[in-house]
């Protein structure tokens, strides 16, 4: 007896790789494990407005880059302008340009964002120690005093930033700080004071996302580097940490909007919250990141829906293998129940069962006449196929006339399979009697019904199409059942007299 080890290894390999592929799909590509899951998305419109001076104009506008939000779709509209989107270490920017513009100009940038759940801003590399800021002579003494005072109360870069932020936003501020604030904006001052002690920090612009808000402005935050991460501080109210609904728009530390050839430039934001299917969202995200190169989602919709049906067959086959090998149910034709179940998906169960029984019953009546004609087998089967088509046509017409729309779906039954079923049942009837026909026919319908119930469950349909790895798992299960040498459930009843109990 040869070793079964390689076989079990293969099964384990299939099982694990199938499961791993599915989990990877779910976690890495955010494909939802359950169908019908919804996600929130934000549609943000930025409107850049400026007065053109009549010369050539160039507008550079930074685009959002935030680990907490993923860009799903973005587009910029502005008639007459050339547009390019650039990307470098400092972030992505949209650059509009035009040879000649005069008067009020409106440029639009629209983006759809989905939250990723990542709240922290990890630094990709350790930032350089900043150059200390050169304070003007009038502020130098005050700044140094104020910095030293806070520095002495802190232990780490982070606690220094916390203390400093507190000192800058306290209700009762020291003279020194009042002096500094009179000539510096709070965020800028905060960054300069941090930099003076060699703490990496920069201003960032953020946008509070609130449903159905219009004419919103960017808010300035300060991010401070500590221990591989950037920590956000609000220099206005002195709080630390990231508000849940904050979208970080610009982390370049430079101006968000640069306009050459225009004056009075400003940018306004409006936003709208939306819910959309988690699955469709993940597919869109995959499309953006070219993760779709070898995937069913690339196919045209019609082929996709075809595959949705085809990929259900392994489930039906698994059902048949289980019911025959483990339970021991007799069916007429090995995989006939799967094909019937596929038809049931189109017709729905009750209509399908009634239609199937009607066709087979009519077919058997006509087949009994054919058997008297003493035909060769091949012509008899062919005749039955033609008769089945006739029966299906007749039922379709009748149900149309009577306004039974369910009856129209009867055309989904596989005709060749029905013809063979009728032929087999008929021979079975002649040789083994009606009882065996009902046992095997009933068994087939029972298996078909169970296969239908498995194949029509929405979460199974969702899984077999979106997690292709599951088919490896099914393959492993089928192989494993092919090695099952134990008793079938029905044998436990059949051999009961031998059990010696």
């Amino acid at each position: 007896m040869h070793s079964r080890k390689p076989f079990y290894l293969l099964v384990a390999l299939l099982f694990i790789s199938g499961l791993a592929a599915s989990i990877y799909r779910g976690i890495e590509h955010n494909v939802p494990f359950l169908p019908g899951k919804q996600v929130q998305s934000w549609a943000v419109d930025a409107k850049v407005r400026f007065q053109a001076t009549g010369e050539s104009a160039e507008v550079s506008f930074s685009l959002p880059e935030d680990p907490a939000y993923e860009v799903l779709v973005e587009n910029a509209t502005s008639p007459g302008y050339g547009l390019s989107i650039t990307s470098d270490e400092e972030g992505r920017r949209a650059v509009w340009s035009i040879r000649e513009a005069a008067g009020q100009q409106d440029l639009y940038y629209k983006v759809t964002l989905i939250p990723t759940g990542v709240k922290q801003i990890a630094a990709s590399e350790e930032p350089q120690t900043p150059e200390p800021y050169n304070w003007p002579a009038t502020e130098k003494a005050a700044a140094e005093q104020a910095i030293e005072e806070v520095w002495s109360r802190s232990a780490t870069n982070l606690s220094f930033a916390q203390q400093l932020n507190k000192a800058l936003t306290a209700a009762e501020r020291s003279q020194n700080i009042e002096l500094l604030l009179s000539s510096n904006r709070p965020a800028r001052l905060f960054v300069r004071m941090l930099n003076s002690k060699g703490v990496p920090a920069q201003t960032v612009s953020g946008l509070f996302l609130e449903d159905q808000r219009r004419r919103q402005q960017l808010v300035t935050f300060v991010e401070v580097y500590h221990d591989g991460q950037w920590h956000l501080f609000n220099p206005i109210d002195g709080t630390q940490g990231r508000p849940d609904n904050l979208l970080i728009w610009d982390r370049s530390g430079k101006s968000t909007l640069d306009v050459i050839g225009g004056i009075n430039s400003q940018v306004n934001f409006s936003m709208l919250q939306d819910t959309r299917s988690a699955l469709a969202t993940s597919i869109d995200v995959m499309k953006n990141s070219d993760a779709l190169d070898f995937s069913l989602y690339q196919l045209p919709l019609e082929e996709q829906s075809l595959f949705k049906g085809i990929l259900l067959i392994p489930i039906g086959v698994l059902m048949v293998v289980f019911l025959r090998v483990i339970i021991g149910i007799k069916t007429s034709g090995t995989f006939m129940p799967v094909l019937i179940a596929l038809a049931f998906i189109q017709t729905t169960l009750l209509t399908g069962l009634v239609g199937f029984l009607l066709i087979v019953a009519f077919g058997l009546m006509i087949r009994s006449y054919l058997s008297q004609l003493n035909l060769l087998l091949i012509s008899r089967i062919s005749a039955v196929i033609i008769v089945v088509i006739g029966i299906i046509g007749l039922f379709t017409l009748l149900s149309y006339k009577f306004g039974l729309s369910e009856g129209l779906t009867i055309t989904f039954f596989p005709m060749i399979i029905l013809a063979w079923t009728i032929e087999r049942m008929s021979i079975l009837w002649e040789e083994e009697g009606a009882k065996e026909v009902f046992v095997q026919g009933g068994g087939s319908l029972f298996v078909a019904t169970l296969a239908y119930m498995a194949m029509s469950a929405t979460w199974i349909q969702h899984w077999v199409f979106n997690f292709l790895g599951i088919h490896l798992v099914i393959l492993a299960m089928v192989l494993l059942m092919g090695q099952y040498t134990g008793y079938k459930l029905l044998e436990l009843r059949r051999f009961k007299p031998l059990a010696g109990e």
Binding site: G328, L376, E432, T485, G486, K488, R493, P497, A499
Partner: protein, 318 residues
């Protein structure tokens, strides 16, 4: 409780369908030899070459136009049997027990017209009774004159003896008796009575119908375990020889007793059913394992039969 506990069955050595297919048929029956048993004509020719007695071959019909020659073939015969070469489970067998002035009669006395015979043969040739509907050959055989020893045990049909032969050792036997319920057929699932037979003596052990134990034949009320199969040694020898002839390790042999010629081999089966265990009231696995564990398997037919009679009889522990 409708269901037996799996462990209870396993401890009785009951062989299930899955285990039979994988561990015995799959392992001991090479695919390439199936043709020797699935095609009755091949089996018959092999048997004749190996000095195994089979029913007389009157002739074969393999083309539709040869059907016209059947009356010539059966001329001078009192009766004959037409069967499909690749049929299974007794399908498509036509038995004519009386030929009178060119008219044919079935065992129950009903007349069969020559055109009905022609149509039956035509159906056989077009594959109505063969696996997968393949075109087939009709075999015309001489009538078996059943040994009257089973009179009263079988209702309107052919009693036959099924032996399971594993690697040449006959390990379990069963007599199949037709009943009114089985419509004269000897298939257990159709209601025939199965009587487990002691390998050592050929005597009845235990009887079942529809998988349930019974004591008396439902139609003739004869006590079933009183039965004793004559020519038992010849039957065992024939079955054991069929192993060398077919080269199938796990084999079912079907034989009948002819009044004059003794045991005749009817057909061989590469996938014998499991009901023989119910008829014997015991599982077959201990016997199979016994043979599997034998060190010395290079035995002659006589040695194998002697070994089987000693070790697989009802009184021995396998």
């Amino acid at each position: 409780m409708m269901f037996a506990r799996p462990r209870a069955l396993a401890s009785q050595g009951v062989l299930g369908m899955n285990k039979r297919n994988i561990d015995f048929i799959g392992r001991y029956n090479p695919r390439k030899y199936y043709k020797r048993v699935d095609d009755k004509l091949t089996t018959k020719q092999l048997a004749l070459a190996n000095d195994i007695a089979v029913p007389d071959l009157i002739g074969t019909v393999s083309e539709q136009h040869e059907i016209a020659h059947i009356p010539e073939m059966v001329n001078n015969r009192t009766g004959f049997v037409i069967k499909p070469s690749q049929g299974s489970g007794g399908k498509g067998i036509l038995v004519i027990t009386k030929v009178e002035n060119g008219r044919y009669y079935k065992p129950n006395g009903n007349e069969v017209t020559p055109s009905e015979v022609d149509r039956h043969v035509s159906n056989v040739l077009s594959g109505l009774f063969s696996l997968g509907g393949n075109p087939d050959v009709a075999i015309v055989e001489g009538l078996i004159e059943f040994d009257p020893v089973f009179d009263g045990y079988s209702y309107e049909g052919v009693p036959d003896i099924r032996l399971i032969v594993f690697k040449g050792f006959p390990i379990m036997g069963m007599l199949r008796l037709s009943t009114a319920a089985s419509d004269g057929k000897a298939n257990l699932h159709q209601g025939a009575v199965g009587v487990g037979v002691d390998i050592g003596t050929g005597k009845g052990l235990h009887a079942v119908q529809f998988d349930q134990p019974i004591d008396f034949h439902p139609d003739t009320n004869k006590k079933l375990i009183d039965i004793a199969v004559p020519h038992w040694d010849t039957l065992l020898h024939t079955a054991s020889k069929a192993y060398e002839m077919s080269e199938l390790g796990y084999l079912g042999t079907d034989m009948v007793l002819d009044q004059k010629r003794g045991p005749l081999l009817l057909e061989l089966n590469a996938r014998p059913g499991l009901a023989i265990q119910i008829a014997n009231g015991r599982g077959i696995l201990p016997f199979l394992h016994h043979v599997e564990n034998l060190k010395n398997t290079a035995m002659s037919v006589e040695e194998r039969v002697a070994y089987a009679k000693k070790h697989f009889c009802s009184t021995a522990q396998p």
